[in-house]
């Protein structure tokens, strides 16, 4: 008796290799895994994606709060890899933790909400940058401030470029409204999600604020 599979045996091998896994079985198991992980305090980062007028937004939260909002152009896979590296690798898709944020964003884009009251986890920005992005919450819906004014507001009037840099490192755009910070000369400046998105957000807000 030979110890190597013969040609007769190849079809059994093919059949084994062709055994499929039902996608919905796997999806259900993954969802249950995320829920169990969360219940057992093993879920460092829970994420989901939500639709928006500007493409899908990635929402990621630690047990402390919302840690990241990312536009499609930021490449969600890259953002998740970065979160695995900086926050922790126990990252799973688990909508539960970001239910409130998702709902508030939905309301915001529908023009039914002007401020967010979700818990934030700002561990991804430190020092001056954190000061700046935290201060963004004080810029009212439908209004704008210049980079210079924001610099002034954090008690560092010459740090205009640093404010620009802080805004570009805002880990939770839209929720903390860096889109409301524009240039003194009236031009928009930059935006993580793309300048056209910044313009659209400002347009949406000023129309609703009337």
């Amino acid at each position: 008796m030979t110890h190597e599979p013969t040609n007769d045996d190849v079809d059994v091998v093919d059949a084994l290799r062709a055994v499929t896994t039902a996608e919905d079985d796997l999806a259900r198991l993954r969802a249950e895994l995320a829920a169990s992980a969360d219940d057992q305090g093993l879920l460092e980062v829970a994420y989901r994606t939500v639709p928006s007028p500007f493409g899908d937004l990635l929402l990621a939260a630690t047990p402390v709060g919302l840690v990241r909002v990312a536009f499609e152009v930021e490449d969600h896979d890259r953002v998740l890899a970065s979160l695995a590296g900086t926050v922790g690798p126990r990252v799973l898709r688990s909508p539960r933790r970001t239910d409130a944020v998702a709902r508030e964003l939905d309301e915001y884009f529908a023009g039914r909400r002007r401020t967010f009251d979700v818990a934030l986890d700002l561990r991804l920005v430190r020092g001056f940058r954190r000061q700046v992005v935290q201060g963004l919450a004080d810029i009212p819906y439908g209004a704008t401030r210049s980079y210079a004014q924001v610099a002034d507001g954090v008690g560092n009037p010459t740090a205009v470029r640093a404010v620009g840099s802080a805004c570009s490192h805002n880990p939770v755009p839209v929720v903390l409204p860096c889109h409301r910070v524009v240039r003194s000369d009236g031009t928009l400046g930059q935006y993580l999600g793309g300048v056209e998105v910044k313009a659209a957000l400002l347009a949406m807000e000023s129309a609703a604020a009337v």
């Binding site: 599979p5 045996d9 290799r17 896994t21 796997l26 093993l42 695995a84 922790g88």
Partner: protein, 179 residues
Amino acid sequence: MGVIDTSQDGAPRRLHGVRDVPFDTVVADHGAAVLRVCRAMLGPDEAADAWSETFLSALRSYPDLEDGANVRAWLLTIARRRSIDQVRGRTRAPIPVGAAPDHVLAPEGPEDALADEQLLRAVRRLPPRQRGAVAYRYLADLSYDEVAALLGSTPAAARRSAADGIAALRTAYRPMEAP
């Protein structure tokens, strides 16, 4: 130069920069393969629980996984540890010769799931070493080195077990010869 670094299903064998790989990616890359093995070892009812326990356990120790680790083999080691008691306790029915329909070897159409289940049941009825070798090699696409490590044997012995297992499966599905 010639080291193949991906499994047949495209999932990377080794996890480089493990710190930057979300566990979600590990589940996406290896969840199906682990489920197939659990189904082969334990049957459809217990497979789901075994899968869940395996990945929860893996999630727990994931931050300590070393760079360059062989992720699929690691997962299956965890699965094996958790299910080995159930495997040991199982009584084995003889493989029914000619009892399975021929079409299990060329699955097409809506009978696929049933055919898969029958094939996996036949795998489950193999002696432990053959069952393991066949499952790890053909359901999870591990190399014989990896199979050997899981079985606690040599690659050569793993090859023999796999070949013997395949031969036994083939016998189970050979059509009854006319008298």
